[in-house]
Every structure is written in structure tokens, then in C-alpha cells.
Symmetry: C2
Subunit: 269 residues, 2 copies
């Protein structure tokens, strides 16, 4: 099965895709829009993209695209993020002058840089891309911070594992497909809705869930493009009974300007 | 008055700081934590930091720091973001092989790169930093995308203005100080609160505002560090009457685990 990801081969997305689909044939796209294009055109069977990290927060661009494009989320997956210091074979920590990584990853490894003040934290566009760069250039004074998948992919050596300051570091991924098909095991539903900006609008919208004892595991706002200071809301609803959820969504449609179901899937544990 | 910003001189933050405090003496910090350190230690009188952009969404790291640190927001400011193509004097668009900028800025100028397929969009850590790099290296095949302030600061020439795809592109900045002092003109209050993760908790929390006809201009969730899949909420409350707001916040404290007022200020128009 062909699976599109955003970022380089060897990235955390690559790792997540393999955990979901062990025999995945990976299509690595440099931009998120290309991932959606590949799914919508049928060039791939599905895609795996990160939607939130428990330290950094949501990946707004990916949520926006899930709202805009014709795809459907069928699975969620939680990946434990372990950052590794990866260098070319033979290179030692004392040889290092700089370490490349994505700014979010660098920021999650502050203690390492405090312990090694002689090593510069250098911003790179991608975690795995840093390892690829180090290995392609046969650099001996530069390492990269990335997932272990990147070491496997490019032949790097893990000099030190567990570089992340906070061990409670997880990224949530969505696997999405072209056709809307709800699996019978689905008990979590993701929606996006927008409200007229009047006092109490969100309170009213949430009442459709509260009054039916439906639990939201997450709600979050995103700006509406082209309408400054207006917001849409993304919500994940935990639900077992389809009928109750259907009624709640019909009720929500009465108070919201716009409602879209972006996916339904079994909740990750 | 000394004013701390995050990022290079010539950045949009520099521009926002000057619009707020025309005679500001700028302290440019490379990291947001240094900005908060400077305010808390009294090394600067205040700081100006972006908290959200109408296209990209919130700056989560800055919201988290406003929650954690002992500072108080006293002013908000909306800056229209106009992206400019800036190069060394004499360099023309046809000479360019690449254009540097922060990934968010590059992403907001897609049409320019579609129109100029021969020019590579290259990720740089900072918008103004890109201009500084181009000018310091006297590069003749490279330009940068940044605010006009950066051209002034580093002696660059604006080759083309208005590169942004969406004109409705604004960034909201907060000016914050060390001491909590509410100006009499304040009619907007920013708070952060956390809730026990039980069904309907947010609905209950919002009721304290709705039942008093208090309007929230924004609400947004952020992950709680160290507690995966739990969230805090940031809310901006529009309010004229101090008494009503006080009562609402007391009521909120009954249903929330934690409530903090991070600022009170006159709303920007």
C-alpha cells in the first residue's frame, strides 16, 4: 500500500506510517498540500500526518487542510517521540561543533545544549533531513537530532538516545483516505464547525454535546482565513452510540454556520 | 524606554514595538524566554511579543510563557503584515536563485514562487535575519522576504512589496510589563484556566460568562506540559464592568482547577 507522508524518509511521520501499515511503500512529500493531492488523486491509498504534539500543540496547517479537502480520517495513532543524537559512524560527541534539527525538536532538547555549551543548536527544515544532510556531506563536526528511523534510513549512528527534556512527549497522527467510510469500530469523531460571532455562541454549540452527555476529548480554535479575528472550532467527540451523535450533529447544524465531519475512527489508548 | 523583542532587529516585532513606543530602545533576544527574563529582572521596561497571526494561528510558546511567568499584559496591538522582497542595492529579480525567509512567511507568499519557478524558497530562522544575512554576505543571487523595517535596518532595497497572498494578514502583539497594574481604559481581559477532564467541564466553565452576557472574543486550547492529552484554555473576555467580570472570575474559580489573569488592556480596533 502506497502511503504519503510530509517530510523526509526516516522522519517521525515515516515511523508512524510503518507502525500503522508495516509494509507501507512511502511517498515522501515536501509540502502538506502535496500529501492531500496524492490522496485525492488516488496516487496513494492513504496518508499519515501529525495533527498535534503534547508539548508543541496542534499542527494548524494540517487541521486546516483536513477541513478544506475531500479526505476522511479513519485512524489515529500516538507515537512516543524519542529524540536521538545521530552522526556518521566514527564521530564522537566531543568532535561536534553543531547539531542540526527542526526548531521544535531543538527546543525539546534544551538540557543537552546546556550540558554541551560548545555545541551550537542549528535550525534545519526537518529532523530526518538533518541526518540526511550530515550523512550526504560526510560531516565529522556535525550531528542531527531525529528519530531512530532516520539513523536506519541514512546509515547514521545513534550517539545518544533520549535527548528530549520531557519524556511525556507524544505526537498524534491521523491516517486518512479519499473515501468517506466509517469503520464499525469507530468510537471517536472529529468535526470542524464555525459560529456567528455573537455572545454565547460557543456555549450554545457545546450545549448540544453536554445536554446529551457526550464527552469532547478536545476542542480547539483556528483562525478563519480571510476573516481576521474570527475562528473555527475543531472538536473530537467520544461516542459509542451513532444515533445520539447524529442527533447532536443535527442540533449543532441548527446553531452553527458550518459543520463538517472530518473523520471517525477507533480511539487510540 | 528599553523594550525587549524576540528575533532580529528589523523584524515585524521591532516594527510593532516602534508603533507602540516610538522612541523604544530595542533589546533583540534570540529566544522568547530571554524576553521574559529581561522583563522580570527589570533589565527592560516592557516587552512586545506576537501572540497570534490571522492566517497561521497562535504562537503557543508565547501563550505558555505568559501563563508561567510573572508578567502582566497592558496593551494589545494589531500589525498589518506586508511581506517585501528585499535584496542588496543593484540586484534585480531576474538575478535571484533563492529567497530566504521564515517558513511561515514563505508559506504566505506561494503565488510569488509559482510565478517565479526558477527561484528557490529557502527556509531561514527569521524574516529580518534573512535580510541581515543577504546584506552581510553581499549576496547577489539571494534575496529575503521580510517587513520593510528590515530594509531600513540593514540597508536593503525593496524589489517588490505586497508579496503576501492574502492581504487580510495581521499579527496581534502583546506589550507586557513586570508589575500588575490595570489601566482605567482596560476593557478586555485575558485569562488562562484549566479544568478537570470530565464531560461537560468546558460547557460549565463557559456558562459563567454566558449567564452574565459576557462576550469572549477568543478561546483556545493548549496542551498541558507533562500531562499528555490534557488541555488548558486561554480566553479573552470583552468587558466594561469590573464588578461583573470579578464575579464571573470568582464563579470560574469554583469550576476550574486553576485560573490566572494574564492581562487587562484596552481592546484594539
Amino acid at each position: 500500500m502506497k502511503v504519503a507522508i510530509q517530510g523526509e524518509r526516516g522522519s517521525y511521520s515515516h515511523q508512524a506510517a510503518l507502525e500503522l501499515i508495516p509494509k507501507a511503500e512511502i511517498l515522501a512529500c515536501s509540502r502538506a498540500v502535496e500529501v492531500f493531492d496524492a490522496v485525492e488523486s488516488g496516487a496513494v491509498g492513504c496518508a499519515v500526518l501529525p495533527v498535534e504534539n503534547t508539548l508543541a500543540g496542534s499542527v494548524g496547517e494540517h487541521l486546516d487542510l483536513l477541513m478544506e479537502r475531500n479526505v476522511f480520517v479513519q485512524q489515529e495513532h500516538r507515537l512516543r517521540i524519542g529524540h536521538n543524537l545521530i552522526a556518521a559512524p566514527g564521530v564522537k560527541i566531543k568532535d561536534l561543533k553543531r547539531v542540526l534539527s527542526h526548531p521544535v525538536a531543538l527546543d525539546q532538547c534544551r538540557k543537552f545544549f546546556q550540558k554541551h555549551p560548545g555545541i551550537e543548536a542549528a535550525v534545519f527544515y526537518d529532523t530526518a533531513g538533518g541526518v540526511k544532510h550530515v550523512m550526504a556531506g560526510k560531516l565529522t563536526d556535525t550531528a542531527a537530532i531525529a528519530g531512530k528511523q532516520a539513523a536506519d534510513e541514512y546509515g547514521g549512528r545513534v550517539l545518544q538516545a533520549g535527548l528530549e527534556d520531557m519524556k511525556e512527549n507524544f505526537t498524534r497522527f491521523f491516517r486518512f483516505v479519499r473515501e468517506k467510510r466509517v469503520l464499525s469500530s469507530a468510537d471517536k469523531t472529529s468535526i470542524v464547525f464555525s459560529l456567528t460571532n455573537v455572545p454565547g455562541a460557543l456555549f450554545k454549540a457545546l450545549s448540544v454535546f453536554s445536554l446529551r452527555d457526550l464527552d469532547l476529548s478536545k476542542i480547539e480554535s483556528r483562525p478563519v482565513r480571510g476573516k481576521p479575528w474570527e475562528y473555527m472550532f475543531y472538536a473530537d467527540i467520544l461516542s459509542a452510540e451513532e444515533k445520539v451523535l447524529d442527533r447532536a450533529l443535527r442540533h449543532l447544524a441548527e446553531v452553527a454556520d458550518f459543520v463538517k465531519v472530518i473523520g471517525a475512527y477507533p480511539r487510540a489508548r
